[in-house]
């Protein structure tokens, strides 16, 4: 039993942490995260050159990782620095392309940007509810419908689209130029898009993709958990610094017992969130993958919100201001619950495990 990262992963985490600290100070992060294209294309290229994306795919498919702990190793530093780059889109796409037996190098090298267009307005989290339609014809497949809040959809070259053909949900690839895309920023930074499919020509990658979609979403959820753990660590550090230095009533506010006890409770919740994320990472590819990831995402949804709310509350007014990093960490921590299944969605997946014998 060993809770230390391997040497390779430690090097990757250190490299990434140093790069992000140098290249995404909070002022720059905010400048790029809240204005189109909602990330920094230049630094995205440099991140790719670091080999970041290769850590997201298995060696057999040309990557250099792809295990649960590799994903956590990448996303935790991204969260700690609030990095707005569309790495989640790349991860989801990589999992889909692996399943489709597709060449991954264009994605992993950063040359071609992919986004996974899965969710819809009325099917936000569960692929089984997808209604976008795929129609086969003499000249190939066409897609019809709308995909909503596609992460990284505004800057992608290629879209991987889940659409229903007769009974099964299939996976298709389309070129971004072939669809109408409305790109926008998100309240916590970063970009997403609405994708309008109107008899859009598409290439079929997988005829029956539901299991593959679930697997990709599991991996995405794990990534978001790790990202949240990173962001919670920074939030905790900001908060401790504030409690130690902010003076009111002639003493640092961290000397007030009521605040001390809340800070302790917060710390315990963060450690629990870290633990359940470690457990989920360890179960990727194993039998309990989906249920364990759901445990983690449900826990994180609740804990990250608590951390965000206490981060603001204990900072007082200053934590409500755009100028202060706390506000941006709080937004990201809350909005992670809106991505790939919120705390109650995942709780219900955990509960479903009781139904069997």
């Amino acid at each position: 039993m060993d809770f230390e990262p391997s040497d390779d992963r430690r090097v990757l985490a250190d490299t990434l942490t140093r790069f992000l600290a140098a290249e995404y100070p909070i002022a720059h992060r905010n400048a790029v995260a809240y204005a189109a294209p909602y990330h920094d294309p230049d630094k995205w290229a440099r991140l790719s050159d670091l080999g970041l994306l290769y850590a997201l795919a298995p060696e057999a498919q040309g990557g250099m990782g792809g295990a649960g702990f590799d994903i956590a190793t990448v996303f935790q530093p991204l969260g700690a620095a609030l990095c707005p780059e569309p790495v989640l889109a790349a991860l989801l796409s990589a999992r889909l392309l692996v399943a489709a037996g597709h060449d991954l190098d264009p994605l992993l090298s950063g040359r071609t940007r992919y986004a996974a267009a899965i969710g819809e307005i009325d099917a936000p989290y569960d692929p089984a509810e997808i209604t976008c339609a795929a129609q086969g014809g003499a000249t190939g497949w066409t897609l019809h419908g709308r995909k909503s809040v596609v992460y990284g959809g505004g800057t992608a070259d290629r879209l991987l689209v889940a659409a229903r053909a007769s009974e099964a949900v299939g996976l298709f690839e389309v070129a971004s130029e072939a669809v109408e895309i409305t790109a926008y920023g998100m309240i916590d930074g970063g970009g997403a898009a609405e994708v309008f499919l109107d008899a859009t020509p598409a290439a079929l990658l997988l005829p029956d993709a539901e299991a593959t979609l679930h697997d990709a979403l599991d991996h995405g959820a794990l990534a978001l958990c790790a990202e949240a753990v990173g962001a919670m660590d920074t939030a905790q550090a900001l908060l401790l610094d504030h409690l130690r230095t902010r003076q009111q009533f002639g003493q640092p506010i961290g000397s007030f017992q009521a605040l001390q006890h809340r800070m302790v409770d917060l710390t315990i919740e963060i450690e629990q969130a870290r633990s359940i994320t470690i457990l989920a990472a360890s179960r990727m590819g194993a039998e309990q993958q989906s249920r364990t990831v759901s445990m983690a995402k449900s826990h994180i949804g609740r804990t990250a919100k608590l951390v965000a709310e206490e981060l603001i509350q204990l900072h007082g007014g200053i934590g409500m201001t755009w100028e202060h990093p706390a506000a941006h960490y709080a937004k990201r921590l809350v909005m992670i619950d809106h991505q790939l299944g919120d705390t109650d969605f995942h709780l219900q997946r955990v509960m479903a495990g009781y139904r069997g014998a």
Partner: protein, 395 residues
């Protein structure tokens, strides 16, 4: 025990409803319903409509131009305004400075300022908090030094709500550093046009501009603009804190938010299903509804008690704490109700064909983040707990 309104109160309620149905412009209530930002002109227009009816300064006695309502009548009025999605009355002149002038001001000050509050000639803002004096307000450091018939003011105020629209500010300033920190504070009325004042916007977490910083550099204020005695401003500060907490529970706003959320959750989605049929969502909504129904009664109980004793006690801190918790819980659930569709940044909200959610829900995430202020501004919930522990529980 009788929880129903008296026949007089019900008649009063009917009168309010009829007035709102006729006088409240749809263009204003639409903005409130969808969470759109009200302009200065919008707020002034609504003030003028209320003032023409004599219902603007609801807390003022008749001799100063108020309607002379009881607390229960004021409550009914506020409830109906919320139900009709009327804009909120800007409280700084009407509910804060007004009562201070009536209680502590000279007749000259009352005559000079009270009518201008009603007419809209003056828009007041508040200069209390400072960067180093938040919860610990008595540690404020903005100095006012006597120079003949004027004070010379230097320092900085912050969290000045809607200061960008104001022409005047009332301030707590330090006129002495002797004795306990509370002892050397005075209450000044300052013209924002005076040389040496700079107001800078503070952008809040969700991107909006509603509060400001105010910088004072050698600003000259006539000593006749001081309210009350020199170095006795803390009495006024406490008076304001303890006295004028109209609608501190925010029940009307909570009811508004609850009704909007329930209506949204009942609307069938594209696949025919409704959010309200999700059991966990319904459970969370029910829990809040129960708290809200209890809060309505808690609020009325304290209101009726205040009507009898003449002044609200420390119990109003309970209304602040629970009231903000309920409103924040509603904003939280309303945000969560949207799922991924909560994410688009409101400044670039999607509209028309690309709209993701009904317009009155589009700003839910921004509303949630903005509402985190409720438990901080106006005396944080932690300070309210300190007050209650001491004044109500005797700990």
């Amino acid at each position: 025990m009788d929880l129903s309104y008296s026949p007089e109160d019900r008649a009063f309620q009917d009168e309010i409803r009829a007035f709102l149905a006729e006088a409240l412009p749809a263009r204003l209530s639409d903005k409130v319903r969808t969470g759109a930002e009200l302009t200065k002109a919008d707020m002034e227009a609504w003030h003028a409509i209320l003032n023409a009816k004599g219902w603007l300064a609801t807390t003022w006695p008749k001799e100063f131009g108020g309607p002379g309502w009881t607390p229960v009548q004021r409550h009914i009025f506020e409830e109906e305004c919320c139900r009709a999605f009327a804009p909120r009355v800007v409280p700084f002149g009407l509910n804060m400075l007004g009562p201070v002038l009536m209680r502590f001001g000279t007749p000259a000050q009352q005559q000079a300022y009270l009518p201008r509050i009603l007419s809209g000639a003056d828009w007041w803002c508040q200069g209390y908090s400072e960067p180093g004096a938040g919860s610990d307000l008595a540690s404020l450091r903005t100095r006012a030094i006597r120079d003949g018939d004027t004070y010379v003011v230097n320092g900085q105020k912050t969290w000045t709500t809607l200061g960008q629209h104001a022409n005047r500010i009332f301030c707590l300033v330090r006129t002495s550093t002797e004795g306990k920190p509370q002892q050397g504070i005075s209450f000044l009325l300052i013209d924002l046009a005076a040389p040496g004042i700079e107001m800078r916007p503070i952008r809040l977490i969700e991107g909006g501009h509603e509060v400001n910083e105010v910088f004072f550099t050698d600003v000259r204020v006539p000593i006749t603009n001081r309210v009350g005695a020199e170095n006795e401003g803390w009495t006024i500060a406490k008076f304001l804190l303890g006295h004028e907490r109209t609608n501190i529970a925010g029940v009307g706003f909570a009811v508004q938010a609850f009704e909007q959320l329930r209506a949204f959750a009942r609307r069938p989605r594209g696949n025919g299903r409704r959010l309200i049929d999700d059991l966990l969502f319904a459970a969370r909504l029910s829990e809040i509804e129960i708290e809200l129904e209890a809060m309505k009664i808690t609020n009325l109980r304290l209101l009726v008690a205040a009507q009898q004793t003449g002044a609200p006690g420390p119990e109003s801190s309970m209304l602040k704490i629970k009231g903000t918790q309920i409103r924040q819980a509603l904003n939280d659930l309303a945000r969560r109700a949207l799922g991924p569709a909560a994410a688009p940044f409101p400044l670039e909200a999607l509209e028309g064909n690309a709209a993701l959610v009904p317009l009155d829900q589009a700003a839910n995430a921004a509303r949630y983040f903005n509402s985190r202020k409720l438990s901080i501004f106006g005396g944080s919930n932690e300070i309210q707990r300190n007050i209650l522990a001491k004044a109500k529980l005797g700990l």
